[in-house]
């Protein structure tokens, strides 16, 4: 049990650090997916431990949301790339105070 949770924590941390340090929007997205799947792993592990299906249901919901998020996110990245010829998140900085 502890192993699953440790792996989940590691994957989540890698994902979080990736979101924070990488500039390429595609990579950032992949890291976000990594974080989501790390939580999925934790959900499934807890479901197994408690012996009910709640965690597994939550994991399916997360997958649906992740799929939707990727669809919209990639569409935004493609349109940003078309106008600005870059996928760096640091260059998309027009919305600021």
């Amino acid at each position: 049990m502890t192993e699953y949770l440790t792996l989940s924590m590691l994957l989540f941390s890698i994902g979080a650090i990736g979101v924070l340090v990488r500039r390429n929007a595609i990579i950032v997205f992949m890291c976000v997916e990594l974080m989501l799947n790390a939580t999925n792993l934790a959900f499934v592990a807890f479901a197994r431990q408690h012996g009910n299906l709640d965690g597994q249901v939550a994991a399916f919901f997360v997958m649906v949301v992740a799929a939707a998020e990727v669809t919209i996110g990639l569409a935004i990245i493609v349109s940003i790339y078309r106008t600005r010829r870059t996928t760096s998140v640091d260059d998309a900085n027009l919305l600021k105070a």
Binding site: L20, R23, V89, N93, A97
Partner: protein, 625 residues
């Protein structure tokens, strides 16, 4: 027929509405419409008067109810008019003198491009003044009271391109508001104590309440009367009001509107009958004003202001008579009528003189005009004889009656009235001598000429009335006529026989005339006004209008200005400071909060992570504790 009294008001009101709304094409004949409206009202007034006179004395009061004006809970005010002996005399004075002044104005205002508007205002005034005197309810009276105030304001400021005229109009309006406040409070007091504001009901019930209520009511009514009639202490506006066109000064500020205060006192005579204190204050106000006005009249070189001082003084006489109670009401109204004739006559005469002298009002620039303007001279002369009380003229009867009644009341009041008569003779003789006699002191480009007949005919009619109005005193007709409205006139025992009093008055008047002749008739009159440093303190004080404006300035205007400035400061600094200061602080805080929003997505992500960690640690801390 007598219930048609509302038509008296409706005709000139319709005239005013027509002239104010009709366009430019009515410029050519607008003045004729206005004059016709006023004349129609006069003819109707005469018809109603004759019908009233044909009735028995106790039937001489007809109230017409046009419907309910205000109906709120237990309070009811009817739109009703009373045509009785008192208001019928006023109707004749207002519409009669008013029509003559309309005719005169056709000539006087002939070259004014806003003449139609002038006539519309004159008609508005006539309608408002008739509302005032016909009202059967104090609220309706108040409507007319404010209406004449409005017309007076519009007409004083008629030449509004002159800053002095605009300022004078505003001053008259504001000072009248002070008096109107008194009248408004009086009406509220009536409502509080009697539950009604009907003139008849209030006068019926006032005897059944405590004397203090009657005194308060009387003093509040007197405050209203002081404002409208330019009596001390609200006298300062009348002299400035001479900025208006001269027919306005004659109609509003001599013959009719300024006498509304006297009318109010006589109309509310039961209130004053019930309170000796209020009557004594009325007498004091009358005596002070009659002497003040006479003093001012002695020192002014501006012919209209000298006449205005005289108007104040004569209204002081009327107030004094009204304050004497039942012994004086009829004489107050009698003097009011005769004064209406001879003062309107003299004001119009002064207008005629100004017309010939290129609108110069300085009597030091006149002199020797009796040859150049014979009609004006003779008619003015009759007015002059009437105001000083020359035997046989109307003023002789009306002023003597007041002095007799004053002597009957108290020797001191009588002596003050007697002194006033002497001073009146002095300043009116001075005015006559400076204007019509002596050497020519005309400016170079002035060519005096007689005015057109449209102006001189009203002068002749008014002069005839000034001469003959004394007939009203024959056989005590005026006292008997007014008895249903103003109560029975009691006669006090006089300290001296009447013939002796009359002789004393004549001697005093002759002394005033002689003194004026010694001062102004024999000597050369300076063509320029002597500087203040060259004249006596008496003259200086009179020229400064007895420092009425200074007192008002010090007591009211300056404290009010300071208060306003303080309020403006408090508003700008304290209230605005609080409101805008709060907004400013919020803005500054937002400015600080805005700085972390850099536009870098990764720093936002870091903040989200940091926030999540804080929440997580917080949760941990809470669960573990």
């Amino acid at each position: 027929m007598l219930d048609l009294s509302w038509l008296l008001i409706a005709i000139p009101l319709a005239g005013a509405a027509l002239l104010l709304t009709w366009g430019k094409e009515s410029d050519r004949f607008g003045h004729l419409i206005a004059t016709a409206c006023s004349a129609a009202s006069f003819v109707l007034g005469v018809v109603l008067f004759v019908e009233l006179a044909g009735r028995d004395a106790e039937d001489r009061s007809v109230t017409t109810d046009l419907g309910t004006w205000i109906d709120a809970g237990p309070f009811r005010a009817d739109f009703s008019f009373t045509f009785d002996t008192l208001s019928s005399l006023f109707v004749l004075l207002i519409t009669g003198v008013g029509t003559l002044i309309h005719v005169y104005s056709i000539g006087y205002m002939a070259h004014d491009e806003r003449r139609r508007r002038f006539f519309a205002y004159l008609n508005l005034f006539i309608a408002a003044m008739l509302t005032l005197v016909l009202a059967a309810d104090y609220l309706v009276l108040f409507l007319g009271w404010e209406g004449v105030g409005l017309a007076s304001y519009l007409l004083i400021g008629f030449w509004q391109h002159k800053p002095s005229a605009a300022a004078a109009a505003k001053k008259a309006f504001v000072m009248n508001r002070v008096g109107d406040l008194g009248l408004a409070l009086a009406i509220m007091t009536m409502f509080a104590w009697f539950g009604t504001t009907s003139i008849a009901a209030v006068n019926d019930q006032v005897h059944s309440v405590s004397g203090n209520v009657a005194t308060a009511l009387g003093l509040l009514l007197l405050l209203g009367a002081c404002g409208k009639s330019a009596q001390f202490p609200l006298q300062a506006w009348l002299l400035d009001a001479m900025e208006g066109p001269t027919p306005v000064s004659a109609l509003i500020h001599a013959a009719t509107m300024v006498t509304a205060g006297v009318y109010l006192v006589v109309r509310s005579h039961d209130v004053f009958d019930a309170s000796a204190t209020a009557r004594n204050v009325v007498i004091a106000v009358g005596v002070i004003t009659l002497l003040m006005g006479a003093w001012i009249g002695c020192t002014k070189d501006d012919i209209k202001k000298a006449l205005a001082g005289s108007t104040m003084s004569q209204i002081g006489y009327m107030m004094l008579a009204a304050g004497l109670g039942p012994a004086g009401y009829a004489f107050a109204i009698f003097h009011l009528l005769t004064h209406g004739f001879f003062k309107a006559n003299m004001f119009l005469g002064a207008g005629s003189v100004m017309h010939g002298m290129n609108d110069d009002v300085d009597m030091r620039h006149y002199g020797a005009l009796r040859k150049a303007m014979p009609v004006t001279f003779y008619t003015f002369g009759i007015g002059y004889l009437a105001i000083i009380g020359f035997p046989g003229t109307s003023g002789f009867f009306s002023k003597d009656k007041i002095i007799e009644a004053a002597l009957g009341h108290s020797v001191w009041v009588g002596l003050a009235a007697l002194l006033g008569a002497g001073v009146t003779a002095f300043y009116m003789t001075r005015l006559m001598l400076m204007t019509f006699f002596g050497e020519k002191r005309w400016r170079d480009d002035v060519h005096p000429h007689e005015s057109p007949s449209v102006m001189t005919v009203p002068l002749i009619v008014l002069a005839a009335l000034s001469l003959l109005a004394g007939l009203m005193a024959l056989g005590s007709w005026i006292e008997e006529w007014l008895e249903p409205a103003a109560g029975h006139a009691e006669h006090h025992d006089l300290p001296l026989p009447i013939i002796v009093i009359t002789l004393i008055v004549l001697v005093v008047v002759a002394a005033g005339v002689a003194l004026a002749w010694l001062t102004y008739g024999r000597r050369q009159i300076a063509a320029e006004t002597p500087a203040d440093s060259e004249v006596s303190a008496f003259t200086r004080a009179g020229r400064a209008e007895l420092y009425g404006n200074h007192v008002n300035d010090a007591l009211v205007v300056r404290p009010a200005t300071h208060l306003t400035r303080a309020l403006v400061w408090a508003d700008a600094k304290v209230i605005d400071g609080f409101v805008t200061g709060g907004a400013d602080r919020l803005g500054e805080i937002s400015g600080e909060l805005r700085k972390p929003q850099t536009g870098f997505v990764r720093s936002y992500a870091l903040m989200v992570l940091g926030g999540a960690l804080v929440v997580l640690l917080g949760l941990l801390a809470v669960t573990l504790a």
